[in-house]
Symmetry: C2
Subunit: 513 residues, 2 copies
């Protein structure tokens, strides 16, 4: 995308109008193509040592694949050593299997301009995933509903910095557990035209998600192309459970992408050290990713790592910690060396509100995400409370920061125009550059314009009501939802989706498990 995607240019110039409202989701870059190098904290030698230890974990300790005889059988046929539910892998076996996995793939959106490239030097931002609660400054914290779900889909659609519609942007707790996946998938398709995620909470819900994708994209297209990406968590340490394995099999069989993610709070679910945790992450990710290739060679798969630590005083999970950043950075390098796209990062925080703690922790993680070489970033906006709560204000604050990350990821352009020798000659010692011809030519796209930051004087800020960033964000999300106009959806597809949902919902009773 052009510079225009990064800075929206001149639009009202008074200090009071510093804030910018994204009006429709159309104007952002479809994804980031990094112009900056990957920052690598781990040396090649250290990475090789960790890989050797992962090989030992896989061969000597092994992993458990629980309550899924089918998967155990698949491993046996592939040459693994299967002992009850414990599976051990001869050295090199998994990497050999993974040779069919693509290092980069396209996830198609129903609007082709929104297709994303997952892998290589690309980075895709997707919203928060999974919180049962939602919060905003007006109503406070409560269980999420399908209305909240739709709101977050709309906010993600409208943000020029959000590339993806995500999955469970919050749990719609007002709908039955065994049927809410229909409304979630439908909301992503209906209220956004960005790429999205399918349900993983049961194999039949995964099948329903695939069916809805087929209705939207066509059966043949879905069979040949990735149109959904799914989050398959390992049950760390060293376990995959039947629910996740069931969903993984459905999606891999249908050529849809699985993100195989060790979900680790170091100190509890992995060793209390970064290096030990990385070895475990690598073992778990290699095993889960390889399984997809045994089900359908060439199916898109992503090496995931949800990694943070716990407080060794209270046992509480911590986020945005320096250890979390190091884990992310190291895991990214291990994924690159494995030739797989990498998922990690987000705007993590343990804070209960969009305060300084939340911003500091989120900034640390999102910077590590951009610099470390993440390809798919879930939880890029809206996350509070260690992922228990989706926050409207936090979503706006985070999305603004994602805009800044677009600029950071471009790096430094060095060319005749950016070197600006004409400006330096024109202005000379003691002058100022505001009126220079070079400034006039370049100012519209020059600097990122925050939608939330208040850069005004103290006096102006007082006159504007002494709002903190969270209160400004509160205004913005309401303005955005009020201004939302959805993308068109082919009425025939819409009707077919609704018919399918109605029929399927009627075919089995509601249940909250």
């Amino acid at each position: 995308m052009s510079d225009a995607a990064v800075s929206t240019g001149r639009r009202g110039r008074s200090a009071r109008r510093e804030r910018r409202t994204a009006t429709s989701g159309g104007v952002g870059a479809p994804y980031i193509s990094r112009g900056i190098p990957n920052y690598e904290v781990l040396s090649d030698e250290s990475a090789a040592t960790i890989e050797a230890n992962a090989d030992r974990i896989l061969a000597e300790i092994g992993l458990e694949f629980r309550e899924d005889p089918d998967v155990l059988n698949i491993w046996k046929i592939a040459g693994a050593e299967v002992d009850g539910e414990r599976v051990r892998f001869p050295k090199g076996m998994l990497r050999e299997i993974l040779k069919t996995a693509p290092s980069q793939f396209t996830q198609h959106a129903r609007n082709p301009a929104r297709n994303v490239e997952i892998g290589g030097n690309n980075l895709v931002f997707a919203p928060v995933y999974g919180p049962p609660f939602v919060t905003d400054l007006d109503q406070g914290r409560r269980y999420g509903t399908i209305d909240d779900f739709r709101n977050f889909v709309k906010l993600a659609y409208m943000s020029p910095w959000m590339h993806h519609s995500g999955g469970t942007v919050c749990e719609p707790v007002d709908l039955p557990v065994n049927k809410r996946h229909f409304d979630m998938v439908y909301s992503h398709i209906k209220y956004s035209d960005k790429p999205f995620m399918g349900s993983v909470t049961a194999p039949e819900r995964a099948e329903d998600s695939v069916r809805m994708a087929q209705i939207t994209f066509g059966e043949d297209f879905v069979d040949q192309n990735c149109v959904m990406i799914q989050l398959i968590n390992a049950n760390s340490p060293l376990v995959f459970d039947a629910t996740m394995l069931g969903a993984l099999k459905v999606y891999a069989r249908n050529n849809q992408a699985c993100i195989v993610s060790p979900f680790i709070l170091a100190g509890a679910m992995s060793p209390v050290t970064v290096a030990g945790t990385l070895a475990q992450v690598l073992a778990e990710a290699l095993a889960g990713c390889a399984l997809t290739q045994l089900i359908r060679p060439g199916a898109p798969v992503v090496f995931g790592a949800f990694v943070s630590s716990i407080s060794m005083q209270s046992g509480a999970p911590t986020f945005g910690s320096p250890e979390g950043s190091l884990l992310l950075n190291g895991a990214a390098k291990l994924a690159r060396r494995a030739g797989l796209p990498f998922r990690s990062g987000g705007s993590f925080t343990a804070s209960k509100l969009p305060d300084a703690q939340s911003a500091q922790e989120s900034a640390q993680t999102i910077t590590a995400t951009v610099q470390g070489g993440v390809n798919f970033c879930l939880h890029a906006a809206g996350w509070l409370e260690g992922g228990l709560c989706s926050s409207y204000e936090k979503f706006i604050l985070d999305a603004d920061q994602l805009g800044m990350m677009h600029v950071l990821a471009k790096g430094i352009d060095v060319n005749d125009e950016s070197l600006a020798m004409d400006a330096l000659e024109e202005v000379g010692p003691g002058g100022h550059f505001l009126g220079a011809a070079h400034t006039q030519r370049n100012f519209e796209s020059a600097f990122y314009r925050s939608s939330v930051a208040d850069n005004n004087s103290y006096e102006q800020w007082l006159a504007d009501g002494e709002l903190d960033a969270a209160k400004r964000a509160n205004k913005i999300w309401k303005e955005q939802l009020a201004a939302y106009t959805g993308p068109a959806l082919d009425p025939a597809i819409d009707e077919a989706l609704l018919d399918f949902m109605t029929e399927r919902k009627a075919s089995f009773p509601d249940s909250n498990v």
Copy 2:
């Protein structure tokens, strides 16, 4: 320093006691020695292009050295082309002169355990510098006083993550402008034993600062060693004024360190592009740094870069911007290539209060600081409002983040103990690591323990009074000041300093210029 400097270990384990109060300044590392590589956004080729343009700026446009015939004469003798106050430099001249400048030097503290190494892979954190205002949640924003000044010196002394006492931690506006430097320098010597900065607001105030250092350290020691470091700003674009030149000459002559810093808000005081600004920064820094070597070859000097941008809508300065991070990163590389220690970064923000904006902007800049290769970081804690205000709460929040930066800067240890194979073997699939022998051996130093973050459950947080990070920080700084016990100062030195100040203050009338 050992791991113990990075994590304070077990000290009360309940969730309610998550917060840690640093009791005395003694326990931190004296400075950071980075175990992580420098992150380089700028390629060697791009850096060389920018250097060629800086050479052109120096040779063709030149710089102005205003109202200081002595400096113009020094340049003339050195071979520069002097035309009125405009000085042009033949290609290569400045780099030749800079060959005598040390690439790394020690700044001595009155407590030798606090000496800092400036240059190489080291990083020194110093507090906010210069704000006329101070603020806290109780009293709000007001002009700073010498009591506030002492308080910030004490807080910096007590923080295990602050390596330096800094300079003008706030302006003591209750003292006459022409005499407050005595009380500032004295406060640093009396209430802290960390290294500090001298006055630069007039040559005679610089002389007074040197004299006070001589009383503290001895005349010969000061002549042979760096015991003060000073901030010499360029008046960008391409101007040095008489005040700064006067101070630079005093300090260089006395073998004390000058940080020669272009002070640039890009778009106003430099071109509206990162590359153009970097060329200007390099030209200004090379000229100012070289001048110190003409005054005293071998005198310690630091390549500085205070670089941010302005809002092209309102003209207001912006901080923590992505362009600011790129400028910092690029300037760091240019300084390394010039063989000079580098000063930049800090916990910058344009926000008026310690909210999400302030934390996000500060986190972006401090991460760029740590990863980019900064050697001396002024404004590492306490800064609000674009540097107009020193905040007590922000100081605590920032200092906590500096602690996290100590961990980040260490990188990833990979060795038999950190690889934790024994823990993985002991725990196996589905277990947990909390009780593992490896965890017991390592948990005390395992993870950084934030003094401010609340990682507890929502319910616990409610029970604790629903405090945001700023309110928690408010409690901490008050606890810290209440617990302050100063370092001992030799009574003979103390008396000599007070006598000198009394005598000098009586020798000329008060003035507020």
